[in-house]
Symmetry: C2
């Protein structure tokens, strides 16, 4: 066996370990009894520790060097070797003790976060979050030193390979230059129109779930290789061939769970559409979190908030909930689902104000990693930032810095990918429409096949063969930019 | 750190790996989508392979030798070291490739078994089962050679430390000498009495679940460290601090799910009652499957089919299902739940005919491991045996050799522990009643505390400090025998 073939075996074993951790992590957020938190933390820590041990073993290092010397690989195998090296470089930079300590600290703080958020009690979370941050800063410094990056870029790179602050800062600066004005104009136009008619609940949660399953099926979710469940913080997780998305139901408002399901289904289609022949190898992985978010937003924001989609959805809703009346017209449903309204909760934000939530978190987490913002000062800094950016006064931390699981989970460097994903989604959807002029008509008929087919070929089945910008250039003709996102917002909200 | 302390660390990491596999195994039987079977098989195989690697590492072997040389440990630590050595001896006897191959073969055959059982299609399962048997025979031979046991005893020893065919054969021979006559006399007495009144369904499965949860609570199940879910084949699984039992609901008959929940709760109480200070160490584990089954049967058969228990249960049932009438009297419910009636399905068998199902499986699996019975001949041998032992003619394999998951799971050497557990349950319950004369009155009041307290002290909290017979001698004054079981059956079924 060549060194490269040995590496393929080793990395398919790693994929199995990561899959095991994926299911255990899903279980911890959906079903696990509270008393199991400590034991589950130990289980995840040892799995991550063992994966780290395999990645950083001298044999792995030697095989990588040998395989790189030997060369002679085709494009996919060469990209696979490149991704193996990337994984090893990230892992090799962090001592195993630090990996396991961080995994344990995260498991503890995630459990405490659930109670702290419920009780809006930041003080309860603070010591656990401080420990998570301390360990993430150590990891960032260690990776930065090894990869020749500053600590934040090093953390960012583990979520979005190749992404850098130097790329983000100008994109976010550009957004900052025109988005506030666009929001203001959109709200004026909105205010001048008659308000959309509200939908009166309650909406049976069983019916909401059935409706979600129906739309997942229409979108092409493969239920022989995935599930839909419930968790406090919706996510897409699980493992290869076992993609599990979650949502939470609100009897008073079905839209939140429904749009959440559509969003997570976009993530799931990416996972289920990864190149089958490579699904246990690094090159078969999704390219990064920015492109991952682009797949959720292309479904939720681009396709499923379009006028066309609501002509398909309206009769489904009327039938499912046994309602009728003008408030259930496609036009009214579209108006309800394209309101621009600054709010406290990121996951409930409309697509125009959403970037402000990300700009704030990006500003705060870069400061925390740099050591310029202490956990004790986080609530004030968060609340001040939301006042500056959206003119909102946070009444309690539950609606402020306690709302997201990301920081308690140690996911520093993740937030910017949400807005980078929104930019990529607009750019990809514009290219898909150019390639498939019939797209709007298909969406109006509930036919997602043309969009899914285009995404399969241009994103999903590319796996990690290409870098994010190379993929975008091949699929859209340009690297990541703000133009398509701006045109999309202007078209939808300024009646362009 | 001493060699022993290093071993303690190593084995707590092993416990975490086993816990991870426990949750993934539970998920595979409850929630996992079918398409994930192959990937889950890989996940479980690598976890078992890594555990095997840790157990058989030269360092582990050297530390064991060093710790045994050093000695000077108190009773618990000495027993812990003894159990570490036991685990290492079992693992060290089997090459890692064989462990992983067996794990994969089992994952595949378990999935096929579900469909084969549903369609009563033994031919579909046969090749997978043959492969599982081939690997189990290899494992039995390898362990036998290393431990100085015959292959079947070696497999048996991994489920029930110290148990041997030489112990089982005389016990089973004794049962065979009087049980058929007892069954015949019990059925005559039964036939002479008016038949118990049937309970007319349907019985809402949600109500059945709520009732199960209520009884689990009364029995002392800790829901902060466990769950109740649904699976085709009820079991007690999960991990430390996360004990998960399952059942299946039948609208036409609530008794099956209810008694199943009581049975699995008995297992769960043992797991939740293991010595807390040792729950991540080998000495903190349950002693073996015979004692484990004794804990499920002491709840289901000894306590919860007693006349006393039905005086507590009857009003709960009437209230839960909103029924009334003479068929809901404690006397009628007791009569319904103590019928002796030979049947095809082991898990539905009454306690008097149950041992016949085990005698048959014991006879067949010892022959299969010895190489005297081929998979192709299993259905005929099974059906012939059920005719001899219970006078029943199996109409389809779904009701015969396809009914149990054990063989497709590679669990050869497990079946006898069910009947050994029934013997131990009767022996322990008699001792508990001698120690707690108020026991029947407490059961009539739904107060399980006295029984639970006695079991905690005499079984659960002993963990693996003592061997099965030493534990029984300490708790009941005698090693495992048939006397208490016979007295119990005569008392309940011959109106003794």
């Amino acid at each position: 066996m060549t060194a490269y073939q040995t590496l393929e075996q080793r990395f398919s074993r790693l994929a199995a370990l990561e899959g095991a951790a994926g299911i255990l992590g899903w279980d911890a957020q959906t079903l696990m009894p509270d008393g199991a938190a400590e034991a589950r933390g130990d289980q995840l820590a040892i799995l991550r520790g063992l994966a780290h041990e395999i990645l950083t073993a001298p044999e792995t290092r030697d095989e990588l060097a040998a395989a790189e010397r030997q060369g002679g690989l085709d494009a996919w195998n060469a990209a696979n070797l490149r991704e193996m090296r990337r994984a090893q470089a990230h892992a090799g930079a962090v001592p195993r003790d630090l990996v396991e300590a961080s995994s344990r600290a995260v498991s503890r703080s995630e459990m405490v976060w659930r109670e702290a958020r419920r009780d809006s009690d930041f003080a309860r979370l603070a010591p656990y979050l401080a420990e998570v941050l301390r360990l993430q800063r150590e990891i960032g410094q260690a990776k930065g030193a090894a990869l020749g990056l500053d600590p934040y870029d090093a953390l960012l790179d583990s979520y979005d390979p190749g992404m850098r602050r130097a790329v983000i800062d100008p994109l976010f600066a550009d957004l900052t230059s025109w988005l506030p004005d666009l929001i203001a104009r959109a709200r004026e136009i909105q205010a001048a129109r008659p308000a959309p008619l509200p939908l009166a609940g309650p909406f049976d949660t069983g019916t909401q779930r059935a409706l979600g399953l129906k739309l997942m099926t229409a979108l092409g979710f493969d239920f022989t290789r995935g599930r839909l469940d419930i968790s406090l913080h919706p996510f897409c997780g699980g493992a290869t061939d076992d993609v599990r998305i979650t949502t939470r139901y609100d009897e008073a408002d079905f839209g939140r769970a429904l749009m959440g399901v559509l969003h997570e289904t976009g993530h799931a289609l990416y996972e289920q559409g990864r190149p089958a022949a490579w699904r246990h190898q690094p090159v078969g992985a999704a390219r990064g979190m920015s492109l991952h978010e682009s797949q959720s937003l292309i479904v939720e924001m681009q396709a499923c908030r379009s006028r066309a989609f609501f002509t398909y959805l309206a009769p489904l809703l009327r039938e499912a909930f046994g309602r009728s009346g003008p408030e259930w017209s496609p036009e009214n449903l579209h108006a309800l689902n394209t309101q621009v309204r600054p709010g406290f909760i990121r996951v409930d934000a409309d697509e125009a104000t959403y970037p402000a939530h990300i700009l704030l978190r990006y500003r705060l987490e870069t400061a925390m990693i740099a050591g310029d913002l202490a956990i004790a000062d986080l609530p004030d800094a968060f609340n001040e930032g939301l006042r500056d950016l959206l003119g909102l006064t946070v009444p309690e931390d539950r609606l402020g810095c306690l709302q997201d699981i990301h920081w308690p989970s140690g996911a520093f460097g993740y937030f910017p990918t949400y807005t980078l994903g929104a930019l990529a989604a607009a750019q990809l959807f514009r290219a898909a429409q150019a390639a498939e002029p019939a797209l709007p008509g298909c969406l109006a008929a509930g036919d997602f096949a043309p969009l899914r087919t285009w995404l399969r070929a241009n994103v999903h089945e590319v796996g990690s063969l290409l870098g994010t910008d190379d993929l975008l250039v091949r699929a859209t003709g340009a690297p990541l930019g703000t133009a398509a996102f701006r045109a999309h917002l202007e078209g939808r909200y300024l009646g362009g």
